[in-house]
C-alpha cells in the first residue's frame, strides 16, 4: 500500500510520518513493535486487536471488533467486513453504552477536528464533527462569540453534542444544543452525503439530533453562536435545603442566563438534601479571574473506588460553606467546566466504574417524585457521590429522541457496586416512568427497553431513519425486545 503513495501527502498509506516515523526502533513491548509495522500495511484499516475503548463511566465493558480512525471528511465509510454494524465515537464522554459498539466497528472521529469557516460577523461556525468544544471556545470567545449551549465539560466533540442533543445551564432559556444547529452533513452507509437542515432532509435532521449516532456519520456541522461580552460571568450562590426551596430559587432566578444546583446527598438519613443554587450572567468586565489551570489528572485507574462517603461528606461540607453568596466575577471555564480541571476524574471510581442516573420529571409531579427518589436512595444505602439538579425550560428541540423536556432534571453519580446498584437504578427508572418523565440515554447503562420506548415515544418514527449499517450496544439493548414499528 505504501507504493500507492509516492510524493507528498500520500493517500494510500496516509500520514506515514505521524504513524511511526521511526518504524519500531526498540523492542519496547509487543504492542509497540506491532504498532511500528502494522500501519505500513493498513493505511486506514483497522487493527486485529482493538482496545477496549471504555465509556466515561467505565461501565459497562465492551470490545469492538474493529476500530478505524477517520482523518478526512471526504473519506468514505469503511466497507463493512461483515454484518458487524458501525458506530461513530467522539471523545468517549458518554457515561454508559450509547458510545459503545460491542463486536462492531467503531469509527474514531477525533481526527475530523478542523474549522471549515467562521463568520465572525454573524457568528456562524462550520466545523468538522470531531472537534472538541474546548477548541471551538478557544477560537470564538476572544472574538466575542460563545457556543449557544455548554455542557458540564468542554471535552466533548460537536458530533457527540448533536448525537446526544446535550443541554446546559441555560436550557430554561436557550433549549438544547440541537436548537442551534443550522445544518450538518450526514454520510450514510450507502455512500450518500446528505446536507441536513430544518429545510433539507428535515426528517434525518430531526432524527440525528439526539439520534445517538445511529443515523449515519456526521462529518461537519454548522452552528449559530451567540454573542458574548467577554470570558467572565457574574455568578451568585445561594444555599438551600429541600426541593421546595430549590424550585423557589429556580423560579426566582428564571431571568438569569445560567442556573444550576449542586446537591449534597450525603446528609444524615431522613434529612432533606441540601445544596447550593448558582446563577450567573455574562458581564462586560474589563478584567477578571484567569481561567483555571489544568491540574494533574488521574494517571491510571485504581482497582477500587477511591472516593469514600466520609471523604466526600467533608468535601461537600466545604463546598457548602464556600458558597459565594455575593455576585462575584468568574471565568466561564470555571463556571461551566469545574471538573475539567482534573483530567480523567472518572478513573477515581476504580475498575468497576460508576453510573450516572439522569432523569427529567414533569413540573406538576416533580417534587413528589424527587422526594420519592431521595427516599428510595436512602433505603438502598447507596448515596450518590455527586448530585446536580436544574430546571429545564419549554423550548422544544427539533430532535426526535431528544431528552430535555420541561421539568426538573436530576443527575446522580453512583459507584457501580453490581446487583444492588442495578436494583437501585431499576427503582429509580420506575419512579421516573410513573411520573411521566424520562431518563437520559447519554448517561445510561441499564434502562429497560420498555422504559426507553415509553420515555421516547418517537422511537417508532425514528426506527426507519436509522442507517441499516449503524448500531450501538445501547440500541441493541433497548430494542432487543421491541416489536418493529407498524
Amino acid at each position: 500500500m505504501s507504493h500507492a503513495g509516492p510524493g507528498t501527502g500520500p493517500q494510500g498509506a496516509d500520514r506515514p510520518d505521524d504513524v511511526a516515523p521511526g518504524g519500531d526502533p526498540l523492542p519496547v513491548s509487543t504492542h509497540a513493535s506491532k504498532a511500528g509495522s502494522t500501519p505500513a500495511t493498513t493505511g486506514n484499516t483497522a487493527s486485529a486487536t482493538p482496545p477496549a475503548l471504555p465509556s466515561w463511566g467505565n461501565h459497562p465493558q465492551a470490545a469492538p471488533a474493529r476500530v478505524q480512525a477517520l482523518h478526512w471528511r471526504d473519506e468514505p465509510l469503511p466497507t463493512p467486513a461483515s454484518a458487524a454494524p458501525m458506530l461513530a465515537r467522539g471523545n468517549g464522554r458518554s457515561y454508559g453504552d450509547v458510545g459503545l459498539n460491542h463486536g462492531g466497528t467503531v469509527l474514531l472521529t477525533r481526527g475530523l477536528d478542523r474549522v471549515i469557516a467562521f463568520d465572525c460577523q454573524r457568528g456562524i461556525l462550520r466545523c468538522e464533527a470531531g472537534i472538541l468544544l474546548d477548541r471551538l471556545l478557544e477560537l470564538t470567545v476572544p472574538q466575542g462569540w460563545l457556543l449557544p449551549v455548554l455542557p458540564g465539560t468542554a471535552q466533548v466533540t460537536v458530533g457527540g453534542a448533536i448525537g446526544n442533543d446535550i443541554h446546559g445551564k441555560n436550557h430554561h432559556q436557550a433549549g438544547s444544543f440541537g436548537c442551534h444547529v443550522r445544518a450538518f452533513e450526514l454520510l450514510r452507509s450507502d455512500g450518500t452525503r446528505l446536507e441536513c437542515s430544518p429545510d433539507h432532509h428535515a426528517e434525518l435532521f430531526a432524527a440525528s439530533i439526539g439520534g445517538l449516532g445511529l443515523t449515519g456519520l456526521i462529518t461537519w456541522v454548522e452552528l449559530q453562536l451567540v454573542p458574548v461580552p467577554g470570558p467572565w460571568l457574574l455568578a451568585t450562590d445561594t444555599r438551600f435545603t429541600g426541593w421546595d426551596a430549590f424550585h423557589e430559587l429556580s423560579r426566582a432566578h428564571a431571568a438569569a442566563q445560567y442556573t444550576v444546583a449542586w446537591l449534597d446527598a450525603l446528609v444524615p438519613s431522613g434529612q432533606p438534601w441540601r445544596g447550593v443554587f448558582s446563577h450567573g450572567d455574562f458581564a462586560a468586565l474589563d478584567d477578571g479571574p484567569a481561567p483555571p489551570k489544568a491540574r494533574a489528572g488521574v494517571p491510571f485507574t485504581p482497582p477500587l473506588c477511591l472516593p469514600r462517603a466520609g471523604a466526600v461528606r467533608v468535601l461537600n461540607g466545604q463546598r457548602w460553606r464556600r458558597a459565594r453568596t455575593d455576585p462575584a466575577p468568574v471565568h466561564y471555564r470555571r463556571f461551566f467546566f469545574p471538573l475539567d480541571a482534573i483530567g480523567h476524574w472518572n478513573r477515581l471510581y476504580g475498575r468497576r466504574g460508576f453510573v450516572q442516573h439522569q432523569c427529567v420529571l414533569p413540573p406538576q409531579v416533580a417534587i413528589d417524585s424527587l422526594v420519592q427518589i431521595q427516599a428510595t436512595i436512602a433505603a438502598s444505602g447507596q448515596p450518590p457521590l455527586l448530585a446536580v439538579a436544574k430546571t429545564f425550560g419549554p423550548l422544544a428541540s427539533p430532535g426526535l429522541l431528544s431528552f430535555p423536556r420541561p421539568g426538573t432534571t436530576l443527575a446522580l453519580d453512583f459507584p457501580f457496586r453490581g446487583e444492588p446498584t442495578v436494583a437501585l437504578l431499576a427503582h429509580l427508572d420506575a419512579i421516573v416512568a410513573e411520573a411521566g418523565g424520562a431518563v437520559y440515554p447519554a448517561k445510561d447503562a441499564h434502562l429497560s427497553g420498555a422504559h426507553f420506548r415509553q420515555f421516547f415515544p418517537a422511537w417508532q418514527r425514528f426506527c426507519p431513519l436509522v442507517d441499516p449499517a449503524f448500531s450501538s450496544s445501547f440500541w441493541r439493548r433497548v430494542m432487543a425486545d421491541a416489536k418493529p414499528p407498524p
Binding site: G12, D14, D17, D24, T49, P50, L108
Partner: protein, 244 residues
C-alpha cells in the same frame, strides 16, 4: 510575519506544526497531492489567523519541483522556514519480496526528499536566510530488518542534511534534521501505548522550538537521542542477532 513552506502538508505532524505557526499569525504555503485535503487544512489555519495558500505537488515528479518552489517563493515573497514532511511508511515485507517496491520506497522517502532539499538549500543560500527543516527519523540511525528500506532512505536524508548544513554555513541559511520516534495518531490509537509514544502535537511543538532555537539535529522526544546513541554502539556481532 514568518513565511513558511510545508511540503507533504497533509501529514499529521505537518498539520500540527502548521497549526502552531498559524496561532502565531504566520504566512503559510502548503504543498501536497490532494487538493481537497490541503484546502481542508488551509481553511482551518485561516480561521485561526494564518494567511494560507496551497499548491499541488507530487514529490516524486522531480521535474515539477522547480516550478512548485518558484510558485511558493512568489506566493510567500521569500521563505523563512521550509518544512519537508512528505513520505510513506513502506511495507517492508513487500520490499523484501520486490526490488521495485524497495526502489519505490527509496524514491518516496529518500530521492524525492534529497532533490527538494538540494533545491531549497540553493534558494535559501541565495536568499541568505531561512531554515530548511527536514523530517528524517530515528530509523535512519541504524538499519533494521523490519524497516530496512525506510531506514535506508531516512539515513540518506540525515546524511544529506548534515552535508547541506556544512554547505550552508556562512550563508545565513540553516538546516535542521528532525528525528521523531514513535508517534501516536488517531490511526495508531487502537494500539496499547508504552510511555515511548508521543503525540503529533508534541512532535510539532518540538519542531517549532528547534527551528526557533536554530538547532541542527533534534530527536523528538528528546530521549531518543541517548537511546539511539546506545543502539549505535551495539557491535554488529550482537546487533545482527537482534530482532526488533
Amino acid at each position: 510575519m514568518t513565511r513558511i513552506l510545508i511540503i507533504g502538508a497533509t501529514s499529521a505532524i505537518a498539520e500540527a506544526s502548521a497549526r502552531l505557526w498559524a496561532a502565531r499569525g504566520a504566512r503559510l504555503h502548503l504543498l501536497g497531492r490532494s487538493a481537497p485535503r490541503l484546502e481542508a487544512i488551509a481553511a482551518n489555519l485561516r480561521a485561526h489567523g494564518a494567511v494560507v495558500t496551497t499548491g499541488l505537488l507530487d514529490a516524486n515528479e522531480l521535474d515539477a519541483h522547480a516550478a512548485a518552489l518558484d510558485a511558493a517563493g512568489t506566493e510567500l515573497g521569500g521563505i523563512d522556514i521550509a518544512l519537508l514532511a512528505h513520505g510513506t511508511l513502506p511495507d517492508q515485507a513487500e520490499c523484501d519480496r520486490s526490488p521495485a517496491a524497495t526502489v519505490q520506497a527509496l524514491a518516496d522517502n529518500g530521492l524525492s526528499t534529497l532533490a527538494l532539499m538540494n533545491a531549497l538549500a540553493t534558494r535559501l543560500a541565495d536568499q541568505g536566510s531561512g531554515t530548511l527543516a527536514v523530517i528524517s527519523s530515528v530509523a535512519g540511525d541504524r538499519g533494521r530488518a523490519s524497516n530496512g528500506a525506510y531506514g535506508a532512505a531516512k539515513a540518506a536524508v540525515s546524511t544529506y542534511a548534515s552535508a547541506l548544513r556544512q554547505r550552508l554555513t556562512g550563508s545565513g541559511a540553516h538546516v535542521l534534521t528532525i528525528k521523531p520516534g514513535l508517534v501516536d495518531t488517531p490511526m495508531t490509537r487502537h494500539f496499547r501505548k508504552s510511555p515511548l509514544w508521543a503525540q503529533p502535537d508534541a512532535i510539532a511543538r518540538g519542531i517549532v522550538r528547534a527551528i526557533d532555537r536554530r538547532r541542527s539535529v533534534v530527536y523528538l522526544p528528546w530521549f531518543w537521542r541517548p537511546v539511539m546513541a546506545v543502539i549505535a554502539l551495539i557491535p554488529e556481532m550482537v546487533f545482527r542477532r537482534l530482532r526488533f
